[in-house]
């Protein structure tokens, strides 16, 4: 029996409707898991995996 933390306290996963989704692009790979009870969203967790960060390019000026 798996318990899920929800807005109504911990609930048995079997009592809930589970919905999952994902997103993948150049910035991130993201997955989310939702649990619904009688049409109400009672849990949503998100996992974002960042692929990279912004780069700063630096240079030294010449005296030419």
């Amino acid at each position: 029996m798996a318990l899920v933390n929800t807005t109504k306290g911990e609930m048995d996963e079997s009592l809930l409707e589970k919905r999952e989704g994902s997103l993948d692009n150049d910035i991130e790979t993201t997955t989310w898991t939702e649990y619904w009870l009688d049409g109400e969203l009672v849990h949503r967790s998100v996992h974002v995996s960042l692929k990279t960060g912004p780069a700063l390019f630096a240079e030294a000026a010449s005296f030419d």
Partner: protein, 163 residues
């Protein structure tokens, strides 16, 4: 209004004057600074309607998310791996740093859409480090996890490069 992924310009300036320190280094002729400690980095989440960008200089609660179990200012970033620098040629190289663990907000409810995490140095007056955006999200009685990219010259979370 939107957040824009960028290195904060003030952070670049801070680096040049040594105002921020993400790892330890042995210094010479700096008195008590010869055995410095590592600064604490924190990560705060911001609403999709906020306007963080390269001109952000310091942490502010304006535009920050709020909700159950989220503490203003965010969470402390695990920083067990010091910055690394690698030469790619005689004229170019990359210095890079990535938090050594995922950034996790546990059992939170954040009902207003957010799309941005802001890294800042809480040891040095909450000075800005960087802004990172992602797809807009909400969380309900759940966990928001940000897994870091690989700490390499091409993918690290923060990279300073010369070409």
């Amino acid at each position: 209004m939107a957040n824009t992924q960028s290195m904060c310009t003030s952070f670049m300036g801070d680096l040049l004057v040594g105002a921020q320190q993400l790892g330890t280094v042995t210094l010479t002729s700096r008195g008590s600074l010869t055995a410095p400690t590592t600064d604490t980095v924190k990560a705060a989440l911001y609403l999709a309607s906020a306007t963080l960008n390269a001109s952000t200089t310091v942490y502010s609660s304006t535009g920050e998310v709020s909700g159950t179990n989220y503490v203003a200012g965010g969470v402390t970033v695990t920083n067990a791996t010091a910055p690394t620098s690698t030469n790619s040629s005689t004229t170019a190289g990359v210095a890079y740093w990535t938090p050594s663990a995922s950034i996790v907000y546990t059992n939170v409810t954040l009902t207003t859409a957010f799309d941005c995490v802001f890294l800042y140095n809480s040891t040095q007056g909450n000075k800005a480090i960087s802004v990172h955006t992602f797809g807009s999200q909400t969380v309900t009685a759940g966990t928001f996890t940000l897994t870091m990219p690989s700490n390499t010259t091409s993918t690290a979370l923060i990279r300073l490069a010369t070409t």
